[in-house]
């Protein structure tokens, strides 16, 4: 449904763009696109929406080219921006009317349902809304047109946990109807919660694409041991911390090597657990550049 082929964007002013990003997102899939601020998430989103033009490479959405067919694409895409900037002087209801007017008839019962679930007040001015409430306006405006593809850039920022939960329910409903969702975020737990697959972007390069299940099942283990011995740090250990006689780290090497390593130590206590996505994420981020570019 969404296909990026060696998509590259350089900015003139030395700001980092994206380099050689290739990936394919299937219809009905929720794809998490994660990386810290400045990694190239928004650049990717902006390129897909043709706010900016690719330097090289190309991308298609439902077979349509993001540059030459951008109008056709925008007819079927719902977009929630990370920073919501709408016309301050408009009332919420007028704004939503304006936003939907580009798409034709509005599904009024569906809109009423969205407004009710998100507890949105239609009779207020945009400028009087909090960030979270503006985000709700963006969610309604994006979902109400029944898009085939949703492009979300940090969609949950500003929403309280309850509303985040409502939002995820709505996304799951969309997914059931076959909507493809591109979910850009730096919050791993939400990606873990809702996404089928995850792509990790670092300094403009896509360094890993895996299913959430697989990424959780990688060799990496979180190890916590209690020992008085000196633990030699090797290259497979990351996030090493020493607190109160405990040493904890994420081990990225072979499991048998870990067992061997532990066998040489006077280990008084040990716990080995599956790492949280956050820790795996750190794992991709702390490795050297050259060995992490995988496609």
């Amino acid at each position: 449904m969404i296909k990026l082929e060696a998509l590259t964007k350089y900015y003139k002013k030395h700001a980092r763009g994206i380099l050689d990003v290739s990936l394919e997102i299937k219809k009905g899939e929720i794809f998490g696109f994660i990386g810290p601020n400045g990694a190239g998430k928004s650049t990717t989103v902006r390129t897909l929406l043709n706010l900016i033009f690719p330097t090289s490479g190309n991308a298609t959405i439902d077979g349509l080219d993001i540059v030459s067919d951008t109008i056709e694409i925008r007819k079927m895409v719902g977009y929630i921006p990370s920073e919501v900037n709408f016309y301050d002087d408009m009332y919420v209801k007028d704004f939503i009317k304006y936003a939907t007017s580009f798409h034709g008839e509005v599904d009024q019962p569906f809109m009423d349902m969205l407004v009710e679930k998100l507890e949105l007040d239609l009779n207020r001015k945009i400028e009087d809304l909090s960030f979270g409430n503006k985000k709700k306006v963006a969610i309604v405006a994006a979902l109400v047109t029944h898009p085939k593809v949703l492009i979300l850039d940090e969609p949950t920022s500003g929403l309280d946990p309850l509303m985040q939960s409502v939002f995820f329910q709505l996304l799951e409903g969309e997914k059931k109807q076959g909507t493809t969702i591109f979910f850009s975020s730096h919050n791993l737990s939400e990606v873990q919660r809702i996404c089928d697959r995850v792509g990790i972007i670092k300094e403009g390069r896509l360094i890993k694409v895996e299913t959430v299940e697989d990424i959780m099942r990688t060799r990496a283990k979180t190890v916590r041991i209690k020992t008085d011995d000196q633990v030699d740090i090797d290259e497979h250990m990351i996030n090493v911390e020493k607190i109160n006689g405990y040493v904890s780290f994420v081990y990225t090497g072979e499991t048998k090597h870990l067992v061997e390593l532990l066998s040489h130590l006077d280990v008084k206590d040990v716990t080995i657990t599956e790492p949280a996505l956050e820790e795996i994420f750190m794992h991709y981020y702390e490795r050297d550049d050259h060995d992490e570019t995988t496609h």
Partner: protein, 267 residues
Amino acid sequence: MKQLIKTEFKRNLRSLILWSSIVAGTAALMLLLYPAFKDAFSQMEEFLSIYPEEFLEAFGMGEGGLDMSDFYGWFGVEGYLFVNLIGGSYAAILGGSILSKEEDDKTIEFLLSKPISRDHILYGKGLVVAINLLLLNTFVGIVLLIAFTIYGDLNVPVWLLFSYAPFILQMIFASLSFFISVFIVKSRKVISIALGIVIGMYVIDLISKLTDEFEYLKYITPYEYINAVTIVNDETIKPLYLLISVLIIGVSFVSAWFFYRKKDITA
């Protein structure tokens, strides 16, 4: 595009009403002063004769210029300039901000996620500028019609020219600022530059009239294209000037379109 035009028009309506009132109000004020000055004109002519000819010409009162004791002459010297300066300022502000405001306020991200092409955004906004300026001049035109009818014989061609010639000047300023705003998106910066052009061109107009040496400058200042002397005395706008005006407006708009369609929106 229809929704965009409608929404844009609504959003700009309040400022249109405000500016129309200011322009028409200033024109009306100058017209109201006419009866009071009419009697003083004999003294005034004597008073004015102490000024050099070039100076009087600069304000349209020299030889072959306007007769201030005539109602149209009075308006051409005293009212028309304000209409052009204030109306021109409105045009420059509107033209310079209608497009850049979307980027400055970052609402462009919303607009460009909707199925509307950049071409249509540009046409739509350009059209709203033209409509607003036509409405402003129509409003001023109505005030002039009433005044001209009350104070003297209504000369229809002169009335129409006084009402709609400023539209040409305003469109020039609006399209120039529209073009600049493709590159400079900070509204405040665009407006400063645009107003600089409005005032700067007026200064150039004065210089071209005050000195023979720089007379050629008259070809680059829109104030000259629609000057009151030609309107009152010849009841026309010179075809050459009309052609230059259309070219400036056309080239500015087409250039704006050319660069905007390929522009990275990074706001």
